[in-house]
Subunit: 395 residues, 2 copies
């Protein structure tokens, strides 16, 4: 039988990164590609103890249906943390639990956008978000990302040219894939432009807790006096990615609509994992745990940057992240990205080609993304050396 | 600020049932409304043991990202069970894990339908599915449900009149809300009509394992020689609803597209709960457990039917389910549904008005749904007596 699919999905393919991730069953491959958190960052023994407590004390609550908005204690804990730690969330806001940050992005777009609307994005940007917007029938319009954040002049020109723009999607802190952080002036400029043109800002902050160098910067949500920012957070990089727990803080009318959309997607987020997160926050020291996670990434990032300095400096341009998981590398002129990715794969090093992050999927790229999160220290050293060999083989 | 929402969601409200469920924090209310499974049916102590094993033996797998298609062992177990127990699934089919049956329904519609398309449904039907289809911008077209299943003549007339019909959505076994089961001839008739008009059948079977009387009937999927049936199953009524684990068996091209849609919704289903289900199937006796769940519902249903016979026979018409969770009751002429629901609520008995299940949300109803799953035996007896009082107060 010939099947016909929806207009939005008919041309969509699985995310290149998820496909690369699936191919990583070969244990010899050095995984600089996937954005998985470091396994040593998961508090597994704490979760084992807390799960035993939950099954002993309140098993029915863990196994029965919950409410769409989320486990009440966890909702309150997330709202409190946003307020105390990030100065984010006002009286007109509400907080819900979602099945990972990804669901927060998708629900926000589903609530606000119809087929044919436009989402304005940093270019390059997070492929999972771009695909979520596309799956709702939205066009993804890229505005170049500079060292300081999105290019404000081009952003305003885009707002002017796109009457159907509904959302500005940004990752201001430790951007994926670029690893860069938007400075305060650009944050204020983005906010002012979004306000002027009546656009909702979708602030994606999955890495915000992972700063290991430099100065903390205010979230866009903390600047939100007008109720125009939807803030999306996640426990994936802090406690566990497999648990699929994220949270959204946004003006109440937007949250209400996202709850309707979530109800028809998965009814509610996994109860047991919501309760595990909630108990971890209540009974363990989340800040101390996060400090230990930061220390892991500080060490691994420093090691990778050191190896890049030794092996690729002067040949490949790369960012120096102050947090998060990613380094963004730009090839020298004359080296084709495809050739380089293949040469790396031949040496069993997986990187993500920059084309995967383009808002216009047919646009070319001369960059690639690598991560220090999952590989071991030994793999980081060997992997960067192999990337050097791969590059030399092409020059 | 004035917010504008997507065309599909702008008029949608949270499901009446989920809202009723939220209001059930008053412990004095007898909950005949929500479709929650009986808490005594959850194998909590097994899960406690299995969770301890998982955290001891493979914590990283439980806490790290998984693949969108689902935990491989559980996928295989679901495919095996569908084949061995329900004779369902052929070489052209594939099976994926979803975050509860609800997600399977939503993803199927998202993969196949665009805004303006029509989904043909039994009338009345499951409100969660109807809202999922609406959230994608689809129209829900109802075809009357008879004692034998959907009205085949009207179904064919609807197929002829609706060139944009893409999906026929049915719950052939222990229908929600009607509690009735489609007979074999009507199953074959539906299949033949769907094939003739090029419509995909979405077979929702969350209650299929819960038969406690009568003869087993073949699933529509087991008749599917042509690759036109998407089968949606769930562990919610068998192991745990809060875990949000379901599965879909469908032709490979449809599954591929649903995987793309799932990737942008929640990346993958909660890993720990997938592993708990998988271990339960591998290390416990699922069939024995299901037999014990059936015994719970057999007893509770018999009790409720007995009380209905005593209190409401000759006044209210009600179905006699052979499985599942629901009894569908029709009021005598002259009694207004709204008045009855309010009179019941005044006596602290919550029922769901039939209007909540209408494909046309503005259509009237003279019926209501009750469940025997969550209330205790004492509550069943008292609740039916109170429904009798409520009815008498209106005559």
């Amino acid at each position: 039988m010939e099947y016909t699919f929806s207009r939005a999905l008919s041309d969509m393919k699985p995310s290149a990164i998820r496909e690369i991730f699936k191919s990583l069953t070969d244990p010899e491959i050095i995984a600089f590609a996937a954005g998985n958190p470091a396994p040593e960052s998961f508090p597994a023994s704490d979760f084992a103890e807390l799960a035993a407590e939950i099954f002993a004390e309140e098993p029915t609550k863990a196994l029965q249906y919950g409410i769409t908005e989320g486990y009440p204690a966890l909702r309150a804990q997330c709202a409190d943390r946003l307020r105390d730690r990030f100065n984010s969330g006002r009286d007109f806001d509400d907080t819900i639990i979602v099945s990972g940050g990804q669901q927060g992005l998708e629900l926000c777009c589903k609530a606000l956008c119809s087929e044919g609307d436009a989402v304005i994005c940093e270019n390059p940007s997070f492929i999972g978000a771009l695909n979520a917007f596309r799956s709702i029938g939205c066009r993804t319009i890229g505005v170049p990302l500079t060292d300081r954040g999105i290019d404000l002049e081009k952003l305003e020109a885009t707002f002017k040219n796109e009457p159907k723009a509904k959302i500005l999607y940004v990752i201001p802190t430790f951007q994926n894939p670029a690893g860069s952080t938007t400075d305060l002036e650009t944050r204020r400029g983005m906010y002012a432009l979004a306000k002027k043109y009546g656009i909702i800002i979708l602030e994606d902050n999955p890495y915000g807790e992972l700063r290991f160098a430099g100065e903390e910067l205010p979230t866009l949500k903390s600047l939100d006096e007008d109720g125009i920012v939807v803030y999306c957070g996640s426990f994936s990089k802090v406690l566990s990615a497999g648990m699929r727990i994220g949270f959204v803080c946004a003006p109440k009318p937007i949250i209400s609509k996202m709850v309707v959309a979530k109800q028809v997607e998965d009814v509610h987020t996994n109860q047991l994992s919501q309760m595990l997160c909630s108990r971890f926050i209540a009974k363990r020291d989340l800040d101390a745990h996060i400090a230990s996670v930061r220390a892991i990434y500080r060490g691994k990032c420093r090691l990778m940057l050191g190896e890049l300095d030794k092996v690729l400096a002067g040949k490949v341009k790369f960012t120096r992240p102050e947090g998060g998981l990613f380094i963004w590398c730009t090839l020298p002129e004359g080296v084709m990205l495809d050739d380089f990715v293949k040469a790396a794969m031949k040496r069993k090093v997986a990187v993500v080609p920059g084309t995967a992050f383009n808002c216009d999927p047919s646009a070319p790229s001369d960059s690639f993304r690598i991560t220090y999160s999952t590989p071991s220290e030994e793999q980081i050293v060997r992997g960067i050396a192999l990337l050097g060999e791969a590059l030399d083989s092409l020059r």
